[in-house]
């Protein structure tokens, strides 16, 4: 799909992410740290002058991970490891992860075991984020990471550093939220695929640079003439939707994705940490309060109401419920999300993703879903 000149640079950043990181290193002399899950305290990393980059899959069949992770684990976790083993991330100085699902934790562990790096750090993370003990425990874990980072970079991460890091990442989060507001009008001011490229590029670009690009984008969008036309308004709920071609299929078929709740979308940036004297407490609180991944929605279900609210606020006509094959965390939530949405007259459509997109099948099924929505709209 051809992209508007407004958003093309963001697609380029995603496409050329490895080159970007190499150039960033050469330019700044700084360290690049790969991470596997959105629960990572980027405030601390920016404060330490480290560039955090989200590790993504290559979206191509690769069997190099087979000797390390069995095929019963999700395609995303295997794809990410393949990328590492194939040397695509040879510029990384370190990797980190917080306690997450068994699938991606395995990727982290195999990576740490087989790809030599200066730094690899596993940080604990509560799943029972609603418990009153979780924030205090999380602060202990954050302190542990901070200490390890200080050992690695050879200097203290001061309060001023953390404040600076917080300011950079909060600004990015705020701008991305502003962009999501522009998806509320009918028609929205940007395509779902464009919004996804902007969010994904923010995961692999120095946020200072990304912030200024985002500011220009927001100004440009306000004047935009070549935006989407009216169509069925869709939301995507799921896990690791990093294949931008999916949006081409959906939006090429007459729909427009106006909202999402997944790890490569709003779940990454939705809330900010509140600056103040208790810096680690603020970072911990942000994790506690952020939109939950299914693994962290255990004692009381917060996700269902949260997703329904987003769908209603962004006035969606239908929701695509995505999951990766073998992804336990999302598979146990999807029947419940489906029920709640449908009880509220929001039709849903289930989509299982593998390493590569089954373009033909997804096109046919998406078209059928869009047709059904169109009929309802009439």
């Amino acid at each position: 799909m051809e992209h508007s000149s407004l958003t093309q640079p963001f697609f380029d950043l995603v496409e050329e992410r490895h080159q970007y990181a190499r150039e960033w290193k050469a330019r700044t002399g700084g360290k690049v740290l790969g991470y596997f899950c959105t629960y990572v305290p980027e405030e601390l990393l920016y404060g330490a002058d480290i560039l955090p980059v989200r590790i993504m899959g290559g979206l191509e069949p690769a069997d190099v991970s087979e000797a390390h992770i069995a095929s019963m684990y999700c395609p995303f976790s295997r794809d990410c490891l393949s990328e590492g083993l194939l040397g695509r991330y040879d510029y990384l100085d370190g990797i980190t992860i917080t306690k997450s699902c068994m699938h991606i934790m395995q990727t982290f562990r195999s990576w740490a075991q087989h790809i030599p790096l200066e730094f690899s750090y596993f940080m604990g993370m509560p799943s029972l984020v609603g418990g009153h003990l979780a924030p205090k425990y999380l602060v202990t874990e954050l302190e542990g990471l901070k200490k390890a980072l200080e050992g690695w970079i050879g200097r203290e991460i001061t309060d001023a550093d953390i404040d600076r890091g917080m300011e950079i990442v909060n600004a990015n989060r705020g701008l991305l939220r502003d962009m999501y507001e522009l998806r509320k009008p009918d028609p929205p001011l940007l395509w779902g695929g464009e919004a996804a490229a902007v969010v994904m590029s923010s995961m692999v670009t120095d946020k200072r640079e990304h912030n200024s690009r985002l500011q220009s984008l927001l100004a440009g969008l306000a004047q935009r003439q070549d935006g989407p036309k009216r169509g069925s308004r869709l939301m995507i709920v799921g896990s690791e939707i990093q294949d931008l071609e999916l949006y081409d299929i959906i939006e090429g078929g007459g729909g427009v994705v106006v909202m999402d709740e997944h790890c490569f979308g709003s779940r990454y940036f939705w809330n900010q940490s509140r600056p103040g004297q208790d810096r680690m407490g603020a970072i911990a609180d942000r994790f506690i309060e952020r939109p939950r991944c299914p693994l962290k929605d255990v004692n009381e279900r917060v996700r269902l109401g949260y997703i329904l609210n987003l769908a209603q606020e962004w006035k969606v006509d239908g929701v695509l419920l995505e999951h990766q094959k073998f992804c336990a965390p999302h598979e146990y939530d999807l029947p419940h999300i489906k029920r709640v949405l449908e009880e509220n007259n929001i039709p849903t459509f289930l989509m299982e993703m593998d390493m590569t997109l089954h373009r033909g099948a997804i096109t046919t099924r998406t078209e059928a879903f869009l047709e059904m929505l169109e009929l309802d709209l009439v």
Binding site: A70, K99, Q106, S110, S120, G124, S127, A328
Partner: protein, 424 residues
């Protein structure tokens, strides 16, 4: 010339089986008898309830799934159960144990035709990706209160040294749990009783460790299949005096077997480890191996209980052959709660890091003089299957023989004995 050993039945085996059968009879009668029932995962913090309700019974989802698989076969319950779960919109690739126990709950049917036991509470430890959610769905479906606890860190290395922030976090959650139980059920918690319960758990683990150490003897006095009902008792009811007595008897009889040269195999041609839990509908595989002189001596899941009763060195290593530390038996509430947290954390971390699993397996092989490993890659359990390719490669690099078979512990639709037996 091969030496033929004396084979004789393990007398205490029938007792272990009887305890298991009695448990299920008790569970099925519990609602009629008005007993306090909880459901959840096997490792759920049931000991706290046991310290409050004298007639308490906990139904662990994993053994319940095995019970449904084995005892419900005649009425076709296992197949109907997993199909019921699929009808609720859940996918087929999810945890086999969970689907089997959910299925029995959704159908409101137990083996033998009685309804699914209705609990007063659902409790869980959030160990793998499933356990918390598994229990959450049960509590919602059954309309009873739910309490879940967790370890926050599965640190990534081979160390067995308790991760103190996680232990402190768990200890705090256990104190909260006590307060919640007292408030929810208007019943007071008995610290002395709880201390004794955890002391029993500790004693059971010590006895278990001694039994596994005795397995080092060649020829081995016991084998994997014989250990199964004891493993279940140890996992499930280790806090009961009855299990301390059972394991004492097992240890003593095992010693006696060694003294008299009694073994389960007439001929021990080689010694292997079974890594993972076997599919319950296919335990005949052990007879197949026995008939060929292959002694399946234990698994690293047997050894993973041992660090909690052995001394762990400062570098996080432990020697499974070192003397069991009976001195560590908890003496007061604080020690009892801490031990509960440490043993939980240690069983959580065993499954999630291939380096730790490899370490544990190497220790097992060394201690038990194993020559090879049979790995079960369980398509229905991501916890036991994590890192199997990494562990297998490491073991092969050490020079051990290794083979792997695929199964799903409870879902027979994914089992092919002709393939597995060929590979064996």
């Amino acid at each position: 010339m091969a030496i033929a050993y004396r084979t004789e039945r393990l007398a205490v085996y029938d007792k272990a089986k009887e305890i298991r059968l009695k448990h299920y009879r008790d569970v099925l009668a519990a609602n009629e008898e008005g007993r306090f029932l909880s459901v959840g995962n096997m490792h759920a913090p049931k000991e706290f309830l046991a310290a409050m309700f004298p007639d308490f019974i906990h139904v662990g989802g994993e053994p319940w799934a095995v019970f449904v698989t084995r005892e419900g076969e005649e009425s076709g319950l296992p197949t109907r159960a997993v199909e019921a779960v699929e009808k609720h919109g859940y996918t087929r690739d999810m945890c086999g144990f969970m689907r089997m126990s959910w299925g029995s709950m959704f159908l409101d049917e137990s083996p033998g035709g009685k309804p699914f036991p209705k609990p007063r509470v659902v409790i869980a430890t959030n160990q793998c990706d499933y356990k918390g959610k598994w229990s959450q769905v049960m509590s919602e479906h059954l309309g009873v209160p739910f309490y879940c606890v967790e370890a926050g860190n599965f640190q990534a290395d081979a160390s067995w040294k308790p991760h103190e922030p996680s232990i402190e976090y768990m200890v705090g959650q256990f104190h909260d749990f006590i307060a919640w139980l007292e408030k929810t059920f208007e019943q007071s918690f008995d610290p002395a009783k709880f201390t004794e319960i955890m002391a029993n758990t500790y004693r059971s683990r010590c006895l278990w460790a001694e039994v596994i150490q005795l397995q080092a003897h060649a020829p081995a006095p016991l084998e994997f299949k014989l250990l199964l009902p004891f493993f279940l008792s140890m996992e499930y009811w280790a806090y009961k005096q009855e299990i301390v007595d059972l394991l004492t008897e097992l240890r003593d009889e095992t010693k006696d077997r060694i003294a008299k040269g009694i073994t389960p195999l007439p001929e021990e041609k080689c010694r292997v480890i079974h890594e993972g839990l076997p599919p319950w509908y296919a335990l005949h595989m052990f007879r197949f191996l026995r008939e060929r002189g292959i002694a399946v001596v234990a698994g690293s899941n047997h050894v993973m209980f041992m660090p909690s009763v052995l001394n762990i060195a400062d570098d996080g290593s432990f020697d499974p052959q070192s003397p069991v530390n009976w001195e560590g038996t908890p003496r007061n509430l604080d020690e009892a709660i801490r031990f509960r947290a440490v043993m939980q954390w240690q069983s959580d971390i065993w499954g999630v890091d291939p380096r730790r699993k490899t370490y544990c397996l190497r220790q097992t092989l060394k201690m038990l003089k194993g020559q090879g490993v049979i790995f079960e890659q369980d398509r229905g359990c991501e916890f036991f299957s994590v890192g199997i390719p990494e562990v297998k490669r490491a073991i092969q690099q050490d020079g051990y023989a290794a083979m792997q078979y695929e199964a799903n512990r409870v879902d027979q639709r994914e089992w092919s004995w002709p393939h597995v037996s060929d590979a064996m």
